[in-house]
Amino acid sequence: MTIIASLIFLGAVGLLLGLGLSIAHLKLAVPMDPRQKAVLDALPGVNCGACGMPGCGGYAEAIVNANMPVNKCTVGGQETADALAEIMGVEAGEAVKQRAYVLCQGDKETCPARFEYKGIKTCPAAHLIASGHKACTYGCLGLGSCVEACPFGGVTMGENGLPIIDKELCTACGKCVAACPRGIIRILPADIPVVALCSNRDRGGSIRKLCKLGCTGCSACVKACGEDAIVMENNLPVIDYDKCTACGACVEKCPTGAMTG
């Protein structure tokens, strides 16, 4: 008798709850755009966040609901932008190919170590000990946290202690940017003609003693530029690449060699 009673009871509970859930599903349904699934399938699915959205799901939702431009995926590139444009029925636009740049030239010779570091061999750990073992407290520590962070194998540690970024493998996903405790790595357009490879935000000649190739903030590049494309921000040159004509005047006038082209 108890067996039958329990069977009937559980069966009734299950049935009622199932019906209740089905009704709730209809009444509490949030209308979702059917294109969102197609957009999500067209995205690479790496969930790196380079587009600025929380993962591919977030970007798909932003494209469908918030009219976000379809060319933001740096991992998928132009191919993905075109596929998304087809689904959404919009113009693809130019997917600007970007890549990561290591804004530091302070390798083992140009920027010597202040002390011998015997601690945990990761960059965030080294950065915590007396602002790191390099003479320049803004410079690259060379312990390779960026190398570990790259999911595509695009970052390798050079022999001189500076990371090298492979132009082909880099997808500008931004994981190395997040891994660097000093913010030395930056994502910039892939085909820029000049860039200042220094992250030292201090001013003045004292930097020459720390690193032979460091930027002193002298603004010679600003004065040299015929197009007014460079402004100084935090004692570092910021180049407006829309105005830059790749004339190379700033590279010539740079007294330290920080500006590279």
Binding site: S6, F9, L17, L21, A29, V30, T122
Partner: protein, 210 residues
Amino acid sequence: MIDNETGWLLILVSSLLVNNIVLMRFLALCSFFGVSNEMETSVGMGFAVVFVMVIASVVSWFFYHAFLDPNTVYAAIHVPFLTWDLTFLRTASFIVVIASLVQLEEMFLKKYLPALYKSMGIYLPLITTNCAILGVAFLNIDYNLNLLSTIVYSLGVGFGYMLAIILFAGIRIRVDRAPIPQAFKGYPVAFITASLMSLAFLGFKGLMGL
């Protein structure tokens, strides 16, 4: 042990510290280890667990006392044919009720509280099969708690989970920065860390006479 006469402060201390659901009772371990890689996800998961746990405990309490063991209710009215004893069905029916409840909560949140859904909605399916929810539902029955004590107890357990996971996430982020031997990377060192935390929480035994 807790019963209906225990004050709410003692219930909270017992469920939060002395008998912490993760570190002392070893429940809810899969979500504990799975989500605690980053601080943000841990905080979100903690809030989601508190939210689901309180509602699930209350609903299962009602379900138990109305349908499975109505003796307590109907005995007062002295209606003999409306009393039965289906208490042995509590495992199966609690699971069904809790699973449906979490589904309902997710739909409700998605429709009416989208901001809350964005912050912790993705963890709700993870909690459906979280053994802590079922565990607390059982404990409420075992301790014969009345409705108010049930609410306080499940609040305490939920916040105990949140405390444990936030502490654990903080330690785990720092441990991951250190050079761990390859064989221990990831879950092995996480388990060792959690067991050391559990040892630390043993120190709460006997606190306030509990």
